[in-house]
C-alpha cells in the first residue's frame, strides 16, 4: 500500500469512527471543542503509526484509548490531574466485565452520539453555527468541505465553528440529552438543522448551480442515523421519508445543460426507486407510530403522492390538497397555502386555485416571493389571461436569486404571449 493509499484508508476509518469518538470523549471531558481536538490528536497518531502497523482490528477502540491518553496528558498539563485522574483512571481500567461488554458499550455510544447531536443543535447557537458544528462533528466534513458546500470562505466557517464551541463552553451547556417537555422542542431544532442542510443541497438559493448533491447525501445520512438513535419518534421518520423521496428525484431534476426540470415534466424512469422505497418505508414507520399528522410526516405524505404516481397524470391531486389542508392546521404558513392552491387548481381547475392565490397577494411575507408570482402566472396562463400571466412571470424572474430559475421564468414569460403571435 502506498503512503497516499494508507492515508486515504485511515481517513475513511476516521470518517466512520469520528462522530462516536468525539461523542464518547465529550462525555468524559465535558467540552465538545476539547473532545474534537483530542479526536484530531488520535487521528494524527493513527496517521503516524498505522501505515506501518496496519489498521487495527478495532480501530474505534484504538482511537478512543489514544485520545484518552492524550486527555490525561492535557489534564496533567492543566494541573487538574488530582481531581480528574480518578474519573479517567476508572474509565481506563481493563475490562473485567462479562462477554456482553460490546453490547453495553454500543448502548453507551448510542447515548453519547445522541448527546452530541443535541449539543451541536443547541438553541444558544445561531442556526448557521448549528449547521456548521453538526456537519463538522457529526458529519465529519472538513472546514473546507463545509465552506465549499455553502459557498462561503473557509476562514468564515472556521471562525463560526470556533465561536460555536466557545459559546457552548461559556454558556456551560451540559453534554446531555434533554428530558421531558424540553425534548420535543430541542428535537425540532435538530430536525430543522438536517432539513436546512438538505435544502441547501437540493435547492441552492444562490449561485449558478441548481443542486449540490453531496449535501443532500450528508443530510440523508444524518437523518438515517438519527432515525436509528431515536426510533420511537415519528417526526424523525417523517423527515427521513421526506428527504429520501425528494432525493429520489435528483437525477431527473436537471437537464443536460444544467437547466432545472419541474417535477411534472420529469422522466419518472430516472427517479431512484431504491430511495423511493426507503422513503415510503420510513413514512409507514412514522404513521405506525401514530405520527401521520406531524408536519414532516405530512410533507412526506405529499411528496409520496407524487412518488406513487406512475405518470404525472396519475397524480392524486385531491389527496395532496387535503394533505396541505391538514398541514395548514399543524404548521400554517402562507407557503403551505400557496401549495394548497396549486393542488386545488390541479384537482378542481385553475379558477379554484386562483381564488386562493389572489387572497395570498396581500400576505406581506409573500410580497417578494417569486413562486407566488410564478404560480399566479401559471394559473392566469391556463385561464387564457396571457398578458397578466406574462407580467407575473417577469415579476417572478426579477425576484429569484437563482440564475437558472430566472432563465426558466423569462422563457415562460416570452412563451406565454409568444404563442399568440
Amino acid at each position: 500500500m502506498t503512503a497516499s493509499d494508507a492515508h486515504r484508508t485511515i481517513e475513511a476509518v476516521f470518517r466512520i469512527e469520528s462522530a462516536r469518538l468525539i461523542a464518547g470523549l465529550a462525555r468524559i471531558v465535558r467540552d465538545v471543542g476539547v473532545a474534537e481536538e483530542l479526536a484530531q490528536d488520535a487521528l494524527v497518531a493513527a496517521l503516524e503509526r498505522w501505515p506501518e502497523s496496519g489498521v487495527p482490528d478495532k480501530p474505534g477502540a484504538w482511537l478512543m484509548t489514544t485520545a484518552k491518553h492524550r486527555a490525561i496528558d492535557r489534564l496533567r498539563h492543566a494541573r487538574l490531574l488530582e481531581r480528574k485522574h480518578a474519573q479517567l483512571g476508572h474509565e481506563l481500567e481493563p475490562p473485567h466485565e462479562p462477554p456482553d461488554l460490546d453490547a453495553r458499550v454500543e448502548d453507551d455510544f448510542g447515548d453519547d452520539l445522541l448527546r452530541l447531536v443535541f449539543t451541536c443543535c443547541h438553541p444558544v447557537l445561531s442556526s448557521e453555527a448549528r449547521v456548521a458544528l453538526t456537519l463538522r462533528l457529526l458529519g465529519g466534513l472538513t472546514t473546507a468541505e463545509i465552506a465549499r458546500a455553502f459557498l462561503v470562505p473557509e476562514p468564515t466557517i472556521a471562525q463560526r465553528i470556533v465561536r460555536a464551541k466557545r459559546a457552548l463552553a461559556d454558556e456551560g451547556v451540559p453534554f446531555e440529552v434533554p428530558r421531558g417537555p424540553e425534548l420535543a422542542a430541542r428535537l425540532a431544532s435538530v430536525l430543522e438543522v438536517i432539513y436546512l442542510v438538505f435544502n441547501e443541497g437540493y435547492s441552492a438559493t444562490a449561485g449558478d448551480d441548481w443542486m449540490r448533491p453531496g449535501l443532500c447525501e450528508d443530510a440523508l445520512r444524518l437523518g438515517r442515523i438519527l432515525a436509528e438513535l431515536i426510533p420511537g419518534d415519528p417526526e424523525v421518520h417523517g423527515l427521513v421519508a421526506l428527504l429520501e423521496i425528494q432525493a429520489s428525484r435528483s437525477r431527473a431534476r436537471i437537464g443536460p445543460s444544467g437547466e432545472p426540470i419541474l417535477l411534472l415534466d420529469q422522466r419518472r424512469a430516472r427517479w431512484d426507486h431504491v430511495l423511493i422505497g426507503r422513503g415510503l418505508a420510513a413514512l409507514e414507520r412514522a404513521e405506525r407510530l401514530g405520527g401521520a399528522r406531524g408536519p414532516y410526516a405530512l410533507q412526506a405524505a405529499i411528496t409520496a403522492c407524487h412518488a406513487r404516481a406512475r405518470t404525472a397524470e396519475d397524480t392524486d391531486w385531491a389527496r395532496i390538497a387535503a394533505l396541505y389542508a391538514a398541514l395548514s392546521e399543524v404548521a400554517p404558513s402562507p407557503i403551505v397555502e400557496l401549495n394548497r392552491a396549486v393542488a386545488l387548481a390541479m384537482a378542481f381547475g385553475p379558477a379554484v386555485g386562483l381564488e386562493l392565490v389572489d387572497a395570498l397577494r396581500s400576505e406581506p411575507s409573500l410580497a417578494r416571493y417569486h413562486l407566488l408570482s410564478s404560480v399566479r402566472g401559471d394559473l392566469l396562463a391556463k385561464l387564457g389571461r396571457v398578458d397578466e400571466a406574462r407580467v407575473e412571470f417577469e415579476r417572478a424572474a426579477s425576484l429569484t436569486r437563482n440564475t437558472r430559475e430566472r432563465e426558466l421564468l423569462l422563457a415562460r414569460a416570452a412563451a406565454v404571449t409568444g404563442a399568440r403571435r
Binding site: V55, E228, R251
Partner: protein, 141 residues
C-alpha cells in the same frame, strides 16, 4: 458515491444450507451497524441458482436456461448497496462484515454509475472548467 457489495456463492449457499444461529445474529448486528451509520441503502440474500435462470443473447435470439449453474465461483449469494464517500470507506465497511460463509469466502465491491458520470459535470468539475476557461481567456493576445 454508491457501491454494490457482492457476496460470492460457495457450495453451501448453492446447496441452500442456511447459516447457523451465530452467523445469522452476527449478520443482523452488522446490518444494524450499517443502518445505524446511515450508509445502508439496500441489502438482500439471494436464493441458490437452482431457483434462478439465465437468458443468453445472440443477435435477436434469446435462450432461457434454468439453474442450477455449476461454476460456483461465478455465482453470487447476496448483495448490499452502500452510500459512502469513497472506495476506501466502502472497503472499511466490508472488512467489518462477519465472514458470510463457513469456510473461506469472498466479497467483491463495485462502484455504481451515477447520472453525473454520464451527463452534466459535478459542481467541482464545472468550477475547474470555469477557472480553466478564465485563465485561457486572460492569456489571449
Amino acid at each position: 458515491m454508491r457501491f454494490m457489495v457482492i457476496v460470492k456463492a460457495d457450495a453451501n449457499s448453492e446447496a441452500g444450507v442456511m447459516p447457523d444461529e451465530q452467523l445469522l445474529s452476527a449478520m443482523m448486528k452488522y446490518n444494524e451497524e450499517l443502518a445505524n451509520a446511515g450508509v445502508l441503502l439496500a441489502g438482500e440474500g439471494l436464493h441458490p441458482s437452482s431457483k434462478g435462470a439465465r437468458i443468453k443473447f445472440s443477435g435477436t435470439k434469446r435462450t432461457v436456461i434454468d439453474g442450477p449453474f455449476t461454476e460456483t465461483k461465478e455465482l453470487i449469494a447476496g448483495f448490499w448497496l452502500l452510500q459512502v464517500k469513497s472506495k476506501e470507506e466502502a472497503i472499511e465497511w466490508v472488512k467489518r462484515c462477519p465472514n458470510p460463509m463457513l469456510g473461506d469466502s469472498e466479497i467483491e465491491l463495485r462502484q455504481v454509475f451515477e447520472t453525473s458520470d454520464f451527463e452534466h459535470a459535478t459542481p467541482e468539475i464545472v468550477e475547474q472548467e470555469k477557472q480553466l476557461r478564465e485563465s485561457l481567456e486572460s492569456r489571449r493576445p
